[in-house]
Homo-oligomer: 132 residues x 2
DNA sequence: TAATTTATTGTTATATTATAACAATGTGTA
DNA sequence: TACACATTGTTATAATATAACAATAAATTA
């Protein structure tokens, strides 16, 4: 059996929901919203989320325990992610900046470690919230 | 009453434990280990952790829900943090690289957002695990 | 096609992480 | 002392995530 290169029903249902949302969704909020589609248990959602993260269709915002759809066509896997997070309205945006990603992907320190992946989260106030 | 600029008993107990550990500790593992010192409830630990993070004495490894003592004397607050994480042995090291921190602290994109804080987590294999 | 293998699903239960609410206590200030 | 307010202790509960295992579906190969 070859490696799955399409989405299963549950994965598609979860992805559709996350993609429709303009903001990160929490796992149990996803669960609540897909119950009418037949996903009744947390594990069904978490398994779909795991796979979707793995293939880069969605990303996890670690500091928020929430999930957003990838808006960056380059993200075939979730191995180089950067986000901006407004600490007031919680708006989250995926940063798509080639200089930044190049800088971080090539980053080396003297630890002898080879980094294959990173996740960066910036925090601050978005334009809207700054002007309040 | 002026703002507290010293550690309370509970905060000191938790900090001592986290500083003694060479690796990140989970909140409930901390709880278990400080019970003999009188901290019996999760909240007592979480409150101490919150304050210690706020003043930069410890940092939270978001992807692991774990806490490490700060090894970087510059970290008066936890507002510019970077870590390397071995995905095999889970060893975590705080990265202290002034070029990197300068680059990230000055990072701007076209979103109009002013970033006051960031957290970066690199993943890979440490020297030891790479050579296995 | 039938048998085999493997991935995915469904389901129940439970583990892990974190916070709400509120009374009690301590500490600095007027 | 009286007041304000930060910190603590305590119980309960919310929120996030995984273990275990039986059932089903899909791909492979005999
Ligand atoms: Zn992406
Ligand atoms: Zn905002
Ligand atoms: Zn630090
Ligand atoms: Zn390692």
């Amino acid at each position: 059996m070859q490696k799955q290169n399409f989405l299963t029903k549950n994965q598609q249902i979860v992805l559709d929901l996350v993609e429709k949302s303009s903001q990160p969704l929490k796992a149990y909020s996803i669960l609540f919203n897909v119950q009418k589609k037949g996903l009744k248990a947390p594990l069904q959602v978490y398994r779909a989320l795991d796979k979707l993260v793995e293939i880069g269709k969605i990303h996890k915002i670690e500091s928020r325990n929430a999930f957003v759809a990838c808006k960056n066509s380059n993200c075939v896997v979730s191995n180089a992610t950067a986000f901006s997070i407004c600490e007031s309205c919680e708006k989250v945006t995926e940063i798509n900046n080639s200089k930044l990603s190049k800088y971080l992907s090539n980053f080396e320190d003297n630890s002898g470690m080879k980094y294959s992946k990173y996740n960066l989260e910036f925090f601050g106030l978005c334009k809207k919230c700054k002007n309040k």
